[in-house]
Symmetry: D2
Subunit: 144 residues, 4 copies
Amino acid sequence: MSETPRISHAAFDALVAAELPFAVAMGFRLEGLGVGTARCRALCRADSIRPGGTIAGPILMGLADFALYAAVLSRIGAVPLAVTTSLTTNFLRRPRPADVLAEARLLKLGRRLAYGEVMLLSEGEGDPVAHVTGTYSIPPEGGR
Amino acid sequence: MSETPRISHAAFDALVAAELPFAVAMGFRLEGLGVGTARCRALCRADSIRPGGTIAGPILMGLADFALYAAVLSRIGAVPLAVTTSLTTNFLRRPRPADVLAEARLLKLGRRLAYGEVMLLSEGEGDPVAHVTGTYSIPPEGGR
Amino acid sequence: MSETPRISHAAFDALVAAELPFAVAMGFRLEGLGVGTARCRALCRADSIRPGGTIAGPILMGLADFALYAAVLSRIGAVPLAVTTSLTTNFLRRPRPADVLAEARLLKLGRRLAYGEVMLLSEGEGDPVAHVTGTYSIPPEGGR
Amino acid sequence: MSETPRISHAAFDALVAAELPFAVAMGFRLEGLGVGTARCRALCRADSIRPGGTIAGPILMGLADFALYAAVLSRIGAVPLAVTTSLTTNFLRRPRPADVLAEARLLKLGRRLAYGEVMLLSEGEGDPVAHVTGTYSIPPEGGR
């Protein structure tokens, strides 16, 4: 495993701005990249809060997908054709009306598939609000 | 099994308007309700399209959750505390830049859990773009 | 889609006898093959029954995997390198102490991944005991 | 969270002997219990090996279910009615013909549902062969 991520924070941000306007619109941000790991945030905004003060499910699922994507690119570089093939979300606790933090890590990077998990937390809380696992298809010319 | 849905189309729309502003913001609409089934639509709008002309993943996952929720309420009535406990999305084909249709059906309604599946299609296409399964927790006083 | 399965019932049985002794030991049998579909059975035996008269979970999960594998081979032929990459089982009802029937169908066959679902029933009962979805990795030289 | 498991190793073994003959037949053993964690082993035996020298999938799935069950009981005590409602297995690497080790931990214990994950490894190898997540239904009189 290489010692530094194969995509820089700035290059990931540029890719998101160009390719994932929906992530921008939902308030998703990369906060930190490791090698096979990523830490992301969804800004808590008026339009992502449900009555009762909780964060809407699609925000949680979208953020997890975004964070896993960053973790995949940290290993394979800026390969735009890596696509999500499955995402499983287990909702564990009601999120508070606060930013949501995502901690993603890859558990496998094969030639054709990557698999990882994401823990989602409300900022300032210890227990996870959701646990997500996901699989990505890696294009054959994946640069590895 | 009762012969008519336990929530009307109008009552579901009212519940969505009151409780799920995010679904309204994402352009989700109920189109038809059966007993344990629901047909829904996500309007294709500029902000839900990714570069390349495909629909963003959170739209697909959110629509599936919305449709399964309608299918659950069609059996238990307007019980606002039914919550999603897990959602598994398998992305099968790239959606076209068109409305997305969801066909949800319950496979089990127990005293505490409901489980069902959703097929998502691009309008005008035959093959599914995603297949989703989900579990909902039913509150003890679930009216059944 | 071709009109006949790309593997015969006899060829599938021979492949199972050679490659899947565990399936034989668990009492799994192919009963019918379509194009992208398969119908299988797990024989109810003393050692597959749990106290209380229900069928052990690994039998249900193993049978579903077996049936989806048959459905995959019905489309791609006797490709021994197709391997399960994920299997999600939702246990819906307590199985009776009877044979378990599996109805598998593919929902997608891509160049690299196949995805399908399986309904499991106790023989003689109408409601499913489990619903299973699974993904298979198809080797590059998959004969299609 | 209590400081010691709510079921002893000996009591778990006795419960398995009485209630889970299939687990005994498959060679599953509890090796260690924490509070919300369990470490288990599947003995590698001739009949659990597939041609090519790998461990059959139902062994992996069954072991994961067994280990998560132990982790659940470590929190709620010997409640025999806790049942698996879903199990998702992601197969990551081909297991070697060796014992399989399972490390299970709960991520949530609610009043009605428990959710956790299991990492499966071939003994003597560092990388996981499978990653499993599962949900258990807790009976209302769950002793908590």
